[in-house]
């Protein structure tokens, strides 16, 4: 009788790594650079091959991070409340709420402020002027005009003036740093509202009581690792890779993806596949030398007096022995 429960378990000596690599690599060749967009989300998130590379390289600075913020029960059902929180989270800089005009001839910067908007966010014009003065820290003269304009004059070079105006543009006023373009969406499964926001800043969100921290999700694997631990990071890798493949309409068995995620997380921290990660940290000198930076690996190995135990696949092929996989795994023993 066939044991159905055990039948999908791989045999010993099965080359699961190669099979996983091929199972992800083959559809990867079909993955085109043309990317479909998330419908309904304002942010353009990289998809397809660029995103896949981003994940397996375990990049710290991913090109576009996203967060899904779920709220506690008191808030999540009420769309108005959620929208209000979303508005509060979004970071607003001076450049977003005021018009900043450079005047190079008079070496000054004019800031035209929307006072009504400021007051709706509980910030008076006076407070704003104070904030700007503090920000500039005496490097320029700040004057106000008719309670609407702020005129900043500085005796500096044009380059310095431009730098100053750029800095003023990114002066943080409201919300949480790094978060932008918050949109409210409805979760069809749980019939509640959640906030999808560009950027990732878990440590600040942690302080907010309205947020259900246990359901917070970000596509930044590094952030997940930092705040939720390695197991969560592993799950996130699986989820993100699977999502990339699914969006391209490519069918890959999750277990291949899981193996890759396991390998990336096996040391207790997330490490990339490739030169600075798995391939670069192989046990065998020969296998490492065969991959990249041949001379570096050989010379370093000689300095340390390393020995190649010849346990892997690549090194055994290099020296011309049978590999310890498949039919090479088993041996005959004479009694």
């Amino acid at each position: 009788m066939v044991n159905i429960k055990r039948s999908p378990i791989v045999d010993t000596g099965e080359a699961v790594g190669i099979v996983a690599a091929q199972s992800l690599g083959e559809p990867g060749t079909q993955m085109t650079m043309r990317t479909f967009h998330y419908a309904g989300v304002a942010e353009h998130v990289p998809l397809g091959l660029p995103r896949l590379i981003e994940i397996v390289d375990a990049r710290r600075d991913i090109s576009k991070s996203l967060m899904d913020i779920y709220l506690t029960k008191e808030y999540s059902k009420d769309k108005k409340k959620v929208e209000k929180i979303a508005k509060g989270i979004e970071q607003l800089t001076l450049g977003k709420v005021a018009k900043i005009v450079e005047d190079f001839e008079n070496k000054s910067i004019r800031i035209i402020v929307d006072v009504k908007y400021l007051e709706s966010r509980n910030l008076t014009f006076r407070e704003l002027v104070k904030k700007i003065s503090k920000f500039l820290n005496g490097s320029a003269r700040v004057r106000t005009k008719s309670g609407k304009y702020i005129l900043i004059t500085a005796k500096t070079s044009y380059v310095q003036l431009r730098k100053m105006s750029m800095k003023l543009k990114s002066l943080h006023l409201f919300g949480i740093k790094g978060l932008s373009k918050a949109t409210v969406a409805k979760d069809d499964a749980s019939k509640e509202y959640f906030i999808r926001v560009g950027g990732s800043n878990i440590s600040e969100l942690k302080k907010m009581e309205e947020i259900d921290f246990s359901r917070l999700y970000t596509n930044s694997i590094r952030d997940i690792e930092k705040h939720f631990g390695i197991e969560a990071a592993r799950s996130a890798i699986v989820k993100e890779i699977k999502q990339v493949m699914d969006l391209q309409g490519l069918a890959v068995d999750v277990r291949h993806v899981m193996l890759i995620a396991d390998a990336m997380c096996s040391r207790g921290y997330v490490e990339p596949v490739g030169r600075h990660g798995l391939s670069g940290k192989k046990e065998s000198i020969l296998a490492r030398a065969a991959f990249e930076e041949t001379i570096k690996h050989l010379v370093n190995a000689s300095i340390k007096g390393e020995e190649d135990k010849l346990n892997g696949v690549t090194e055994n092929i290099i020296i011309g022995q049978t590999i310890k996989l498949g039919t090479g795994k088993v041996k005959l023993v004479m009694r």
């Binding site: 190669i18 690599a21 000689s302 011309g320 590999i323 996989l325 498949g326 039919t327």
Partner: protein, 614 residues
């Protein structure tokens, strides 16, 4: 934006560049451009000058350098083309030439920059307004010489035109009428080349009709017992026997009697058996007394075509015995693998250096066979998968049997409607006895072709009732059948076929050589290796990568782990590093032995720890 900036951008002050190099400022860009264009139009400035004006950046670029792609246009003034009937009459009578028109300012050459910035070009005379500066000579001139010969190109997708153009360059035909006297290193000549029934106006203008490269085939678009899957085609055997797309392949070998420093010289002769590197006697059988093969002799691979003996490569070889009795080496020219051919001609002459030069031209008949490549002029290429006897092929009620059958799936996804139109046109032309014009944008329209078919009692869509040649049954569907120009491409299997079981190896790596010319093996690459690992076939990997490749036995010192040597004179093995004599014989790939050597060259000492197989 500040006030001063605004005024600056509104001003017409421009920077002028000549051939990309800064020339100076001008206060009014519009006026500058206008006056330059006027001066060019009366040819006070050279017609080689092109100008572009970027109002946004305030730059005027003047270009006179070579290497810009330029196209001719008819100059338009006040909505009227300057080219008149009078000009055309004079052109026809030969009174004036094209260059005169350019000199007169009737024709302007524009580069892409001027096309984009300063010109307004009309496609057709009827749409001319007073704003137009130029008129396109003919809309079909947007393509080059080769694409212009494709029939109905305006009905195809552009990638297919590119592909068709590149395939036309590979077609066999009559490349030169003096081919019999030419000694090209490789040349193909098509038997009975035909002028296409469907052709564009440029076809005869390019004299392509005097040296055609293809034949008009009767083609059916249908499936034939699964033999024409994908892009495979089925060919009529009887058509092939009637010399359909038959061709001859010429290949020329040559050698010369070179002189070497030291007064020595090559000699063309039948080599003596005592000469170094003497081949089997059998291979020299075709050589005449002078050491050169005779015309009309049949040769096989490895046969010697020109016998030649050369002086030894190193002078010492002669000097060892002190006698002038030279040990010369065999240096004959032999037919390469796959050359089953007849000697077409032998030419004796003198090289530039004044040496005796011999060229031997081989000729071989290339009858279409399974694996040969064919293509229509629409980027539709295919390989013969089966040569079916005529009696097995489908036939129409009038008894027409197709020369070639293509798969209907080749058409929709590639969007080569031109292919269908050409088949229709070819059929109409064959019935009517008139060539069909298929020039871009002005070719004979589909309706007219349909009318011709109808006139001769055919189904106007080109479809016909066909009968299965094997069962004699009528096909349930009507089959689209027509006449279309097909080209045989120069990728012939007989010139490509290659096998190896054993053979030469590379000097450096001891691995098999690469390529057909060196009788090489086929690479078992990294990805193939991965597949075997994935399958777990460890013994097969070892077989491919070691046993059948560069396996070597090396001695390894059991004491220090370095590679040992064998002293033949003392019949003794020893370690050159530690002078130990305990050795283990290890099998490894020669490439790994090389790797060890290279590691040593990095001043790293790799030790091999040997032991019994675990």
């Amino acid at each position: 934006m500040s006030k001063s900036k605004q005024t600056r951008s509104q001003s017409k002050r421009v920077v002028v560049y000549l051939n990309g190099i800064y020339l100076g400022f001008h206060d009014n860009g519009d006026e500058l451009v206008k006056s330059i264009l006027e001066k060019r139009s009366i040819r006070e400035l050279t017609p080689n000058l092109n100008i572009s004006y970027n109002k946004k950046t305030g730059e005027v670029h003047l270009n006179t350098t070579g290497g810009r792609l330029r196209r001719p246009y008819i100059v338009v003034k006040n909505g009227k083309p300057l080219l008149t009937e009078e000009h055309l009459e004079k052109l026809k009578s030969g009174e004036i030439t094209w260059d005169d028109l350019v000199a007169e300012g009737v024709i302007d050459y524009l580069d892409s920059e001027e096309e984009d910035s300063l010109s307004y070009i009309a496609m057709d005379e009827s749409e001319l307004t007073s704003d137009h500066t130029h008129l396109e000579i003919n809309p079909a001139s947007i393509t080059g010489a080769i694409v212009s010969t494709i029939p109905y190109p305006d009905h195809n997708s552009s990638p297919r035109l590119t592909m068709a153009a590149s395939m036309m360059k590979q077609s066999l035909g009559l490349y030169a009428v003096n081919f019999n006297y030419r000694l090209d290193s490789r040349a193909h000549i098509l038997f009975y080349p035909q002028v296409p029934l469907v052709q564009s106006a440029s076809y005869s203008a390019l004299n392509y009709d005097k040296r055609p490269a293809g034949q008009n085939f009767v083609v059916a678009v249908m499936s034939y017992y699964g033999y024409n899957m994908s892009d495979a085609v089925v060919v009529n055997k009887n058509s092939v026997e009637r010399a359909l797309s038959r061709s001859v392949f010429y290949k020329t070998y040559e050698t010369e009697e070179r002189r070497y420093p030291g007064g020595q010289k090559d000699k063309l002769m039948v080599p003596n058996p005592n000469i170094m590197g003497y081949r089997e006697e059998e291979l020299y059988r075709n050589l005449d007394e002078d050491g050169i093969i005779m015309p009309e002799v049949e040769v096989k691979p490895r046969d010697v075509l020109i016998g030649k003996v050369s002086p030894p490569r190193f002078m010492e070889e002669v000097a060892t015995f002190g006698i002038t009795e030279e040990k010369r080496r065999e240096n004959s020219v032999t037919a390469k693998g796959g050359d089953y051919a007849t000697v077409d001609s032998v030419m004796l002459t003198e090289s530039l250096a004044g040496n005796k030069l011999v060229k031997v031209k081989l000729r071989s008949l290339k009858v279409p066979e399974v694996g040969d490549k064919f293509a229509s002029r629409h980027g539709q290429k295919g390989v013969i998968s089966y040569i079916a006897p005529q009696e097995d092929l489908p036939f129409t009620k009038s008894g027409v049997v197709p020369d070639l059958i293509i798969n209907p799936h080749a058409i929709p996804s590639r969007m080569t409607a031109g292919h269908i139109l050409e088949m229709l046109g070819g059929k109409a032309s064959a019935l009517d006895g008139e060539y069909v014009d298929s020039t871009m944008f002005s070719g004979t329209p589909e309706d007219e072709l349909r009318a011709v078919l109808k006139k001769y009692g055919f189904e106007e869509g080109g479809e016909e009732v066909l009968y299965d040649g094997i069962t004699g049954e009528k096909y349930k569907a009507t089959i689209f059948i027509g006449v279309i120009y097909y080209q045989r491409l120069h990728h012939l299997v007989s010139n490509k076929m290659h096998v190896r079981s054993r053979g030469p190896v590379q000097l450096l790596t001891h691995q098999p050589t690469e390529g057909k010319a060196r009788e090489g093996g086929l690479r078992f690459g990294e990805m193939e290796r991965d597949c075997l690992i994935g399958y777990g076939a460890s013994q097969l990997i070892k077989d491919r990568l070691l046993e059948e490749s560069d396996k070597t036995i090396v001695r390894v010192c059991a004491d220090c782990g370095s590679l040992g040597v064998y002293d033949y004179s003392k019949r003794r093995e020893y370690c050159p590093i530690c002078k130990g004599t305990r050795m283990d014989e290890i099998e490894m790939s020669y490439a790994f032995k090389l790797l060890l050597d290279e590691i040593k060259s990095l001043n790293v000492f790799p030790r091999l720890r040997t032991g019994d197989k675990r």
